[in-house]
Symmetry: C2
Subunit: 282 residues, 2 copies
């Protein structure tokens, strides 16, 4: 068994990106600029925002965090987004989810211009991803695909089971895997025999958010496991796979923590640079 | 074995829609209006257009066929679509695909306003479908879901195999099936062991466009087969499933011809009415 060294993969990606930021900054005479929109102070947002700011600083990317009152009206937030859409100095916008309950998340996501949608939350960008049209890809699944690629996993004709059909990971990665030539089965909470499917899989993607869902007896020998889940159990963070047992049978497995999550911010910068270049070349 | 009477299902849907057209026409003092955009004279377009016009006439829906020269430039066609977008008397637009090769199909599809996109070709509408947000659904997969529903097939927890990952049928129906609670495996040309997957399926969706791809020995007893393929073999039209052999084992199966295709135009009218009402209630 080999635990995939995601931290090293992420460090290498960041190194390349840092160089790219320098050369693009020189080329266009301007640094890429990321706007972070936060509403209220959801604990998961606060820690994620800090890590984004740190990554931006390390990469030489300009950024601004704008925090809005948790009682902001939907119309006000729509106006905020529209102002950012038309602001030429802003190249990418990431909205922190979840938003407070009184706000329509879909409406806010679809107000953001597809040209500044650095985490691919806008329906237009998601529709392109769905149809296999080149464009922005959500950061977490993009990082997962990169981890598979860097680990030398050829997906063509592989049997892949995606556990979880959520918007952030399960749905987009299923499409990315299909576009890479894998045969993909999507399992979810209504799946009757998860074990039967997982047992047949060459690659298992964990994206359900349920600790201990994938156990050692469910996987076949030599399986590749990419675990995107982040479950907080007491003072520990674990994925969906029972790492200790599953890793005994896996040929490759990502750890949690220190796995998939380590690549997410690098993908955010990669997407920002893509939007920055499109903006400049328009 | 029961061959699903798709013609009867379609006739019942059309009956309901005809009544709905009447009541909406009375309510809004205007008939729904469908614009059909055809470029050149691709044989499959010509026959499909005729069937759309006939359906519109039977339903009491206004329609106009605009045929453009096959050498029309992309910029000219974009202008045509933009004019239709801003024309308040047009409630839905269907563009006949395939377009001539020199035209960028994605650009044309994404020029069409999501609010007039009666066959769900625009990325914004496809992105909503992908994320499970209520909205327009492409006509053929919408009809297939209706056939399953009218046939009393409960999809929750069912094992469904979709054969084919194309944009028109395979991709959208996979998402609709997932949203209905099915466990979905998408197989395609790179799938190594199609038989193994089909053999386990409670429901098989044929959308590959390859005659004889699904044979009798590949399916399990009692399987439900919905065959959306239209393959022309000599002077016969057949689906992907070997109907004679597969039907011996299937509990329910759609015929080809006279199957899925019979519902497509009814779904087009259903979508048009949805867009018409949204337009009027705006």
């Amino acid at each position: 068994m080999t635990t995939i060294n995601c931290k090293e993969i992420a460090a290498n990606i960041r190194k390349g990106l840092g160089e790219k930021v320098s050369s693009l900054t020189e080329k266009y005479g301007e640094k890429p600029f990321l706007e972070i929109v936060q509403v209220g102070a959801h604990p998961s947002s606060v820690s994620y925002v800090k890590s984004i700011e740190r990554t931006c600083d390390n990469m030489g990317v300009n950024h601004r965090l704008s925090i809005y009152d948790e009682n902001i009206s939907e119309e006000e937030l729509v106006k905020v987004i529209e102002t950012l859409n038309s602001d030429d100095s802003v190249h990418g916008v990431i909205i922190q989810y979840p938003l407070p309950q009184h706000l329509d998340q879909d409406r806010i996501a679809n107000t953001l211009s597809p040209d500044k949608d650095v985490d691919c939350v806008n329906s237009t960008n998601l529709g392109k991803l769905f149809m296999g049209v080149k464009g922005i890809v959500p950061c977490t699944p993009k990082g997962m695909m990169r981890i598979l690629e860097e680990s030398g996993v050829d997906l063509v004709g592989k049997e892949v089971v995606v556990v979880g059909n959520g918007r952030t990971v399960g749905k987009p990665i299923s499409q990315l895997l299909l576009h890479s030539g894998a045969t993909v089965t999507v399992c979810h909470v209504q799946t009757k025999d998860l074990k039967k499917h997982v047992k047949e899989a060459d690659v298992v993607i964990c994206a359900a958010g349920k600790a201990g869902l994938v156990t050692g007896d469910m996987v076949k020998d030599g399986v590749v496991v990419v675990d995107a889940a982040i479950n907080v159990i007491g003072d520990k963070i674990v994925g969906d796979a029972d790492f200790e047992e599953v890793s005994k049978k896996a040929s490759l497995i990502t750890p949690v923590p220190g796995g998939v999550g380590t690549t997410t911010n690098a993908m955010l910068i990669e997407n920002l640079l893509e939007l920055f270049v499109s903006h400049k070349e328009k």
